[in-house]
Amino acid sequence: MSRDLVAIVCGMAVGTLARYLMLRRDFRQYPSYPHAVINHLALGFVAAMMGAVAIPAIVAKEYTAVTFLALAATQFREVRRMEREMLLALEQSELVARGKDFIEGIARTFEARNYLVILISLMTSGVTFVFGAFAGVIAGMAALTIARSLMRGQIVKDIAKVRPARVRFVGPNVFVEDIHIMNLALAEIRDIYTQRARAVILEPYDDTAREILANVGQRQAIAHDAAALLGVHREVDTAEFMPLLRRDPDTGRVGMIIVPIEPDEKCLVVAVENVPVLESAAVNPLASRAGRCATD
């Protein structure tokens, strides 16, 4: 087998494997099995192929081929559009919506992972071309490990303390400790809340975390994940049972109330702690002089 072919085959194999390992099919069941998984594996294979042929093409002085590869890479923008449109369309069927910010985050991740596959297969085929297949595969695996650790974003646990909290009523108004959540007129609904509602308080560790939790999309993502994991005591005609997160403007703390099917507070805390911090919600006021000065 020629050196070119070995490099291309190694790059393609490691790249496709990398895409498979990056498809995290956890509780979210997204991408859904089997068809969406096949779609993404196929796209990952194309991305791996593009990365794998780049180095042999440059060595063979096939600059036109390399230019075409760069052009083809832009097609992966379509992946983001496809995911965004599909998730937005499905949003109507969710009892607790993901929210636009969460969807944008998911779509962006899918696009970015294809670019990572291109880089990993480029690395693998490059090293294979120079040092041989064994070294190439090792390099590819190392690149995958580095990429995965770098792409691992923060979760709510990293930015805030999540603890169970008490639900109380003052007249028709429901509070999580001292944070006002909403006004509920019907006694029957209030009774269900008194018996079954569970609440947590998110206490941000610093000003950056406070601003992340202020983001409405981030709070919607928390509500969605908590409802997906613990179930939600809600039907399409009972809007009262939508899980809600409200902020205390004085301290930046956020109170969350949900009427889950599984009324286990510890599980609720764990569910909330593991919600990803959305890229679109991320801000860092402490990185600026004005932000640091305002903290004092």
Partner: protein
């Protein structure tokens, strides 16, 4: 640009006739009837009943 009305008072249910106007109003004889009407309307309209504290409930689509 898409313009949408997100929060909308769809109806009011009251035991106090003089406190509300301008929206569809349902008069109730007593508190019990008010709760019943408000509950039925909230299910039908997929809205939430809020208590204004003056004998009037409003049904709001959020």
């Amino acid at each position: 640009m898409e313009i949408a009305i997100n929060k909308l008072i769809l109806a009011a249910v009251t035991t106090s006739r003089e406190t509300v106007s301008g929206v569809p109003v349902f008069y109730a004889q007593d508190h019990e009837e008010q709760e019943w009407i408000a509950k039925t309307l909230s299910r039908v309209l997929e809205a939430i009943a809020h208590d204004l504290g003056n004998g009037t409930y409003i049904l709001v689509r959020h």
